[in-house]
Amino acid sequence: MALLKPRRLEYPFTPEQVGSLRAGQFVLVSGLVYTARDRIHKYFFDGGKSPVDLKNAALYHCGPVVIRKDSDWVVRAAGPTTSIREEPYLPRIVKDHGVRVIIGKGSMGKVTEGACKAGGCVYLHAVGGAAQVLAEKVVSVKGLYFGEEFGLAEAMWVLELKDFPAIVAIDSRGHNLLRRIKSASLRMGRKLMKSFDPFIP
């Protein structure tokens, strides 16, 4: 399985750009993204207003390590956090705000597949734990919202990315790369248990 030539994805993320992506493709994301994790998702789900226009925008499931240097924010480490926790909130947020791209990590279920299909949205899987490699793709910190209310790890950071690498895990048709992998591993797991070769001391 050769990795295809990377597709480039640039802000604002138009329906055409995003609609042409297919599960399994390798992409490089550039432009503005907004970090959002557990607190922000619940806040939006409960009807909270967004301080920025999220139409055709990307939400990045990330709680970075950011420190203040003089008057600037410096990203010390930033990578994706596990996305499945946000799954219950996603359909409403994608629908209400017109979010076009979700960046995170880990497998997502039917609810996200549905949200992607309905909203013409994609879920991109970045490399978990690669906080230095991915922090280097953050060109600048453009803003900070909810820093006081939710704390710096849970805040909404406005980040400008350049060539941030990820894999399309769910495309706008609802095709889910990780679900295919999970189903196959479940079958193999059952086979290993049934193939009666028990572990005997």
Binding site: M1, A2, L3, F26, R39, C62, G63, P64, V65, V66, I67, V74, R76, A77, A78, G79, T81, T82, I84, K105, G106, S107, H125, V127, G128, G129, A130, A131, Q132, V133, A135, E136, F150, G151, L152, A153, E154, P165, I167, L177, L178, I181, K182, A184, S185, L186, M188, G189, L192, M193, P198, F199, I200, P201
Partner: protein, 295 residues
């Protein structure tokens, strides 16, 4: 305890190093795994990215992963040593490491939801103290992120859904189930710590303490070493792969320990530690001076 400053500075250095510098055994494990995955595959791409990340964290003197996790300190101290003073020196070091960005503000009040600026609060960090008949202080630190903590699992045998009875075959089934359930969500390739027996609380303690073992060691109990071997091999054919994106490397290692149990209970507890395996340790003098690294 005299010389608070020296203690604080040694413990700070331990935290800094744990956060930015992946232990050599784990890095070698990643390198070996990388060679086994097909060229130009997603698995290979992930592992190459991880190795690049390990180097950059060292070069940038910055956290390997932004989730700097919960901090678990394991101290072995001489008999009669003042562990209260040791804990307060450790708390000072944690606060400084947070201020300097080696740790994220990662401690949340579970009732009010407010974030703590220092990472020092009730239950954070976690301490284990043990008295030993020697004249030095051994300290080991695990920094365990939330993503991998969330995929830990505890089973009670017999487990009908797995067809697992109260024997090592039952244990094998629990572990296989835990690997399949976790997929890549704990940031695979991870290392599993398994405890057979104990109670609901000590089972998790024992499973986590398996992470203090070196990646390439084997259980000193022959039968458990065999089970470790077999399960590690079986994890490869599940085709979960790094980050759950497919491939053979779902795990870098698997460590099994055991504790006694009561007749009515038979727990199998599985803890998952992500590839960003932040585990370091040091031997310190009784005055807090640095003697040598343990890993």
């Amino acid at each position: 305890m005299k010389n608070h400053v020296l203690w604080e500075s040694s413990l700070f250095e331990l935290i800094r190093r744990t956060s930015v510098d992946l232990p050599c055994d784990i890095e070698q494990g990643l390198r070996r795994a990388c060679k086994t995955e097909k060229k130009a595959s997603r698995a290979r791409w992930v592992l190459e990215t991880l190795l690049e990340n390990v180097q950059k964290a060292r070069d940038n003197d910055a956290p390997l992963c932004q989730d700097t996790g919960s901090l678990i300190f394991y101290f072995q101290v001489p008999v009669g040593f003042d562990t209260n003073a040791l804990a307060s020196a450790t708390r000072l070091a944690v606060a400084r490491a947070t201020r300097l960005g080696y740790l994220r503000q990662n401690t949340i009040d579970s009732v009010s939801g407010s974030a703590c600026a220092t990472n020092v609060a009730y239950g954070a960090p976690t301490f284990y103290f043990e008295q030993c008949a020697r004249g030095t202080v051994d300290v080991r630190l695990l920094m365990k992120g939330g993503g991998c903590e969330n995929v830990g699992k505890q089973y009670s045998l017999p487990d009908e859904s797995l067809g697992g009875g109260r024997d090592l075959e039952g244990v094998r089934r629990c572990v296989l189930d835990a690997v399949v359930s976790a997929q890549g969500n704990g940031c695979a390739p991870g290392i599993l710590g398994v405890c057979i027996g104990g109670d609901r609380a000590t089972g998790y303690e024992c499973s986590k303490s398996q992470f203090l073992r070196k990646l390439d060691d084997k259980s000193s109990v022959k039968i458990l070493a065999r089970l470790e071997d077999r399960l590690l091999k079986e994890s490869k054919v599940l085709e979960i792969g790094p980050m759950g994106l497919g491939g053979s490397t779902a795990l870098l290692g698997l460590k099994i320990g055991s504790m006694s149990r009561v007749p009515a209970s038979f727990f199998v507890t599985v803890s998952y530690m992500c590839w960003a395996f932040r585990r370091r340790g040091a031997v310190l003098t009784i005055r807090g001076g640095f003697k040598k690294w343990l890993y």
